[in-house]
Structure formats: C-alpha cells, structure tokens
Amino acid sequence: MMDGMRKIERDTAASDIKIQARSVQVFYGDTHAIKDVSVDILDKTVTAFIGPSGCGKSTFLRCLNRMNDTIDIARVQGDIHIDGDDIYDPSIDPVQLRAKVGMVFQKPNPFPKSIYDNIAYGPRIHGLARTKAELDEIVERSLRRGAIWDEVKDRLHEPGTGLSGGQQQRLCIARAVATEPEVLLMDEPCSALDPIATAQVEDLIDELRRNYSVVIVTHSMQQAARVSQKTAFFHLGNLVEYRETGQIFTNPEDARTESYITGRIG
C-alpha cells in the first residue's frame, strides 16, 4: 500500500498543470456556494473532490465545463484557466469548452436512441468523422475505452436505455470520451450503481488516466482512496485541503479534514 502511494507521488510530480482555478466564487441567488477556491489540477491524473453533501464539490466541478451556465440564478466569479486559456472569457464558447471537457453524471443518462447513436452523437455534432467508416471506428474505439464493447457489440442498434445501470454508466463514459476530450469530469459516477458495476467503472477510471485529466466527485472516501492520486476536501463551500491522496488520508493537516475522514462530519 505504501509502496503504491509513493509510486503515485512520483507520477503526479511528473504531470503538468491542466486546470488552474484562482479565487473562484459561486453564488446561487443569495447563497454563497463556493467561497474563494483556488486549485491546480494536473494532467494525466485522477483528482478526487470529497466532502459532506452540500459542500460545493459538485458545484465547483460544474464550473470547470461551465455547466452552471444552464442554471439561471448561478453566478461564477474568479478565474479558471485550462491549458492557459480563461474558460470564462467572453470569446470562449461553452460549446467549444465542453467538447474539450467531457462530463459524466451521477445518474446514467443515455439518450433514448440506439447505443451506436448515443456514442456517435458527439462526433456527429462536432463533425469529427468525415465518413461512415471513420464514425464506426470512433464508436468502436470509444466503446472499447468504456470497457463495454464486448457486451454491446452485437446490439449496437438497440436502444441504450435497455442496458443495465452499470452498462448505461459505462456507455455514458464511452459517449463522453468519443469526442476526444482532454479533461473528464465525473460527478459521483458510481452512486447509482451496485458494487460490481462500481468496481468496473473504477477500473475504467484508472484506465482513463493514461489519456485524460480526470476529476471525480465522490462522497465515498474509499473510492477516492482507490482511484485518485490527488484529493481535495471541500467543506461548506471552502476548499479545506488539497494534497496527495495518500497524505490526506493518512496524515490530514486540517482538523476538519481529519474529522471528516474519521467520520465526525457526515
């Protein structure tokens, strides 16, 4: 266990900064949901956001691909840079941003279309494939990356809503990677899944680290410990502590983190 963690520390040290957030504030109407959060998220790393429910971790995640734009009353202040570009710059179209920053949601949300069309949707709207063969190839590659190809390859044209919960979530992950994003945001991707499906998805997340910067929101500390290299602990809208996963779980600096990890803040 300790060996593995030291290895992870070396890995993260070698990565570049992918997302740089500085003094981010989010307001929902009068509620101050995120208070002055600054964080650097590394490339080719799984970063976990943990914290009690309502602590703002999902809200912050949704800032990273500007999904908060879809909520009328939400206001975001501060700077978030991805690859050095300010994503809240007026010249940046959220469409462009979201093509680069994929997202997987808490509940699997396949479109009421065939499995093939679910995967092909992103590439189609963005015009990533010029021919049918190219599209077929993207679909197959994405489903393989989503570790679901073997289960669905014979029924690509059946509706995606007919799959089991775990399969649906992997389908959604495959759908998200089909547009070749550089960052993958996951908002409690396993909360609606049974333990077996969770294990499959967690294995998949570890796989995805090779190509993407993965940010995962979870309220399962075990899951954060299992899949992430870096962990950020949020509490009441504040970023309390952000360190190597191994360190935060074994040697938390902040009293609040310790209380949470030892089960005193629920």
Partner: protein, 458 residues
C-alpha cells in the same frame, strides 16, 4: 305547483331531521349510550326522505309533459288530425299550448280552445296529485325513520351508505352522458338511413340537402353524400395545422429553451388568454378582419378569392390552436428529464442541437398526442366555420375556394327546424355520428399516446 312540492319536501325533511335529532338527544340524556351521535340520526332521516322523493319528483316532471301532450292529442275530436303528418300534428300541439298560455293569435277553432282548456286542467291536476304524493310519501318516510331511532341503530352507517350511493350515482353520469350521446346519434341516424340509402351517405359525392317542401314542388331530390362535406372539413383542418403546428412548436421551443424568464412570465398568460377566447369571437374575427385581409391580398395579386374562403376559416382556426399545441409541446419538453439535457450540453451540443436532437425526439410522443387532440378539435370546431366557411359542399382541395364542413352542415340543417321526420334534419344526426366517431377514435388514440408517454418518464 312543482315549487310547492319542493318546498313541502324541504319542510317535511327538516322536520324529520329535528324529530330524529331530538329523539336521539333525549335517549342520550336518559343515560343510554348511542352508537351514532344525534346529528347522524337527524341526517339519516333527512337523506332517506330527500333522495327517494326528489327522484320521484324529477321522474314525475319528466313523464308529465309527454304524457299530457299525448292525452291532449288523443282527446281531440275525431277527424281533426286526419291527413296531417307529424310536423302538422306538432304545429297543432304548439298552437294549443300557446292558447293555453293565453297567447291567442287570430280566432282559433273551438276544438283547439277546448283542447287548451283540457291541457291546462290536466297540468293543474297533475300538479296537485304530485304535491299530495310528495307530502304523503315524505311524511311516511319521516315516520318510519323516526321509529328507527334507538341506541343501537347505526345511523352513521346508514348516512354513509346513502352518501356513497349518491356519489356512485354522480360518477355514473359520465357513462350516462356517453350512452345518451351514442343512443341519440344512433337512433336518429338509423331513422335517417331508413330514408336515405347508407351507401349513398358514405360514398356519395354530392351533398345537396334541399328537399321539396310540397309534393308538387319541382326540386332536386336532395343528395346526401358526406364525402365533399368531410373533405371540406379536412381542407380547413389542414390549413389550420399548417399554421398552428409550426408556430405552436417553435414558440414552445423558444419559451422552453431560449426565452428570458421575464418574457416567459408574459408569454404564458398571453397564450392562456388566446386559449380562453370563445370560438364565437374567433368566428367574428374571421369575418371582420381575416377574410377581408385575405381577399384584398388576393386582389392585389390578381387571384380571385371567394368570400368564404377555406383559407380564412383555417387561418383563424390555426390561431385558435396555437396555444393548444404550444402548451402540449411545452409540457412534453418539460417532462423530458433534465439529465438528458445536461448530457447533451456536456458533450458540447449547442442549445439548439440539444433541443432538436435530444429533447424533441424524446418528447415526440407527447407532442404527437397533442397534435392529434388538436386535429380532433379542429374537426369538431363549430363556430369559426359556421361564421367564416361556406354552405355549399364542393369537391375541392383548393384552400382559396369556399368549402363547407361537417359542423357547419349540422348547425345549418338544425337551426330553426323542429320536426325530426325529414331527411334534412336527420342528416344532421348522421353527420353528428360520423363526427363523434372520427373524433372519438382520434381522442382515444391520442390520450393513449400521451398517457404512455407520461408513464415512460415517471
């Protein structure tokens, strides 16, 4: 006299209520433990008096009119009704009735005045007998229920049984209404088909419901083929949908996805107002504004437009249907789970792409159901077409021509004509039956689609 009967019933039932209540209170005062509180004993008496006696009065009133009419007619001197058809007999009856009300025109024959006297007398007798029966029956029931007041009598259960029965009766009204519609349409249609061959009605290409008023009159036989009439209905419906479907869909999409919340707050009530405008107002709007506008527009283009063009009626009907379709689309779009919208947006779809590729296909069943209901509404819509469409049936699909519709024909055939024995009036019922069947099929189908769709997302 009917009023007296109701007043008597009311008094007796209230009397029964207080009798029973007092009796029960006295029992309790003597230290007996009652099963039901005194008020329930009173209510029991009240309800068991009211329900049967009101039923009696209503039945009496329903039967009294036709029976007295029949007695009046059969009591006329022999021979006075010879060589008269049903219409003629009804005229005589109407004359007798108007004499009985004191409205005398000219110098009626003596036998008519006699008959009117008898008519008045019979009504008076019937009223007195009714009053007597009501008093006797209600007093009897009150006496009976008074005798049942006892400690162990379950008055509350009795009251609840009666109210349950009443509520059950209320809910059967819907069934009776449907049965009444079917019976009325079927019965009169059968009488129509006794006079006009059924094949001619269903497959005939001519609709000319003029019939000779006198034997010797030279007139067309009258033709009753419903195809041109139905075709006219379809032409107007299609014009209406051409306007209402795109406008309704687009405005719902805009309100649901793009509109700033302040516009939405204004637009929804505006659409509701548009939906609440009575159709007779739309009809007047058609003749006051839309038809002249279309005619003058056609004139500037050099196209002859008939005054009762299908286009005008269809356009106004389309305006009427806009809020209908837009509210169904709005509901259907709102029912699509938010997660699907988020999923598409997170993939980098624009809002337009999200609506068109993901939300809209997911909402299609609900929208189709709404459009089907709109079609059924357009087919059954009456006032707009009565006021703005034509009267002459013609086999045309040109919206600039004048066409007639099923509902227009029903109304024009029945306005101002009372007798039920000529093909002209009966034809209206045959058309009504077709209208009922067509709209029923569409409605059942549409409601099924809408319900299935709702279940899918619940």
């Amino acid at each position: 006299m009917t009023t007296f009967a109701f007043v008597a019933l009311l008094c007796v039932s209230v009397l029964g209520y207080s009798l029973n209540r007092h009796a029960a209170t006295r029992l309790r005062a003597n230290g007996t433990r009652l099963h039901s509180v005194p008020a329930y004993h009173g209510l029991y008496s009240l309800l068991s008096t009211m329900v049967p006696v009101v039923t009696l009065i209503v039945t009496w009133l329903m039967l009294q009119g036709p029976l007295i009419d029949r007695f009046t007619m059969s009591g006329l001197p022999a021979g006075s009704l010879d060589s008269l058809d049903t219409g003629g007999r009804q005229l005589i009856l109407a004359e007798i009735k108007s004499i009985s009300r004191g409205r005398i025109f000219g110098d009626p024959e003596a036998w008519k005045v006699d008959a009117a006297d008898r008519y008045v007398r019979m009504h008076a007798i019937s009223g007195w007998v009714l009053l007597g029966t009501v008093i006797v029956a209600s007093l009897g029931i009150v006496g009976f229920s008074r005798s049942r007041v006892a400690a162990e009598f379950r008055a509350r259960h009795g009251v609840e049984r009666i109210t349950s029965g009443l509520m059950l009766f209320c809910s059967t009204i819907a069934i009776f209404t449907t049965l009444g519609i079917i019976a009325a349409l079927l019965f009169e249609s059968i009488r129509f088909f006794e006079r006009v061959p059924i094949m001619e009605f269903f497959f005939g290409l001519n609709w000319e419901p003029q019939i000779p008023l006198r034997e010797d009159q030279i007139a067309a036989e009258g033709a009753f083929g419903w195809i041109p009439v139905f075709l006219g209905t379809l032409v107007i419906t299609v014009v209406a949908l051409f306007l209402a479907v795109p406008v309704g869909l687009l405005s719902a999409i805009y309100l649901n996805e793009f509109a700033p919340s302040r516009l939405r707050a204004v637009a929804k009530p505006v659409l509701e107002i548009l939906a609440g405008v009575p159709t007779v107002v739309y009809g007047f709007f058609a003749i006051l504004v839309v038809a002249p506008a279309i005619r003058s527009f056609g004139a500037t283009l050099g196209i002859p437009v008939s005054p009762n063009t299908a286009l005008a009626a269809g356009t106004v009907m389309g305006i009427m249907l806009i809020p209908f379709i837009s509210s169904f689309t709005d509901d259907a779009l709102s029912a699509v789970p938010k997660s699907l919208r988020d999923g598409a947006l997170a993939l980098g779809a624009t809002r337009a792409e999200t609506v068109l590729n993901v939300l809209f296909p997911a909402a299609i069943p609900g929208i189709v159901g709404g459009i089907l209901l709109a079609i059924s509404r357009a087919i059954g819509e009456t006032m707009i077409v009565v006021m703005a469409a034509g009267l002459i049936a013609s086999l045309t699909v040109n919206p600039l021509d004048s066409v007639t519709t099923v509902t227009v024909q029903i109304v024009t055939l029945l306005i101002g004509d009372t007798s039920f024995d000529n093909p002209k009036t009966l034809a209206a019922f045959a058309l009504g039956m077709m209208l009922f069947v067509v709209t029923l099929v569409i409605n059942v189908f549409a409601l099924r689609i809408v319900r299935k769709y709702r279940e899918a997302y619940e």
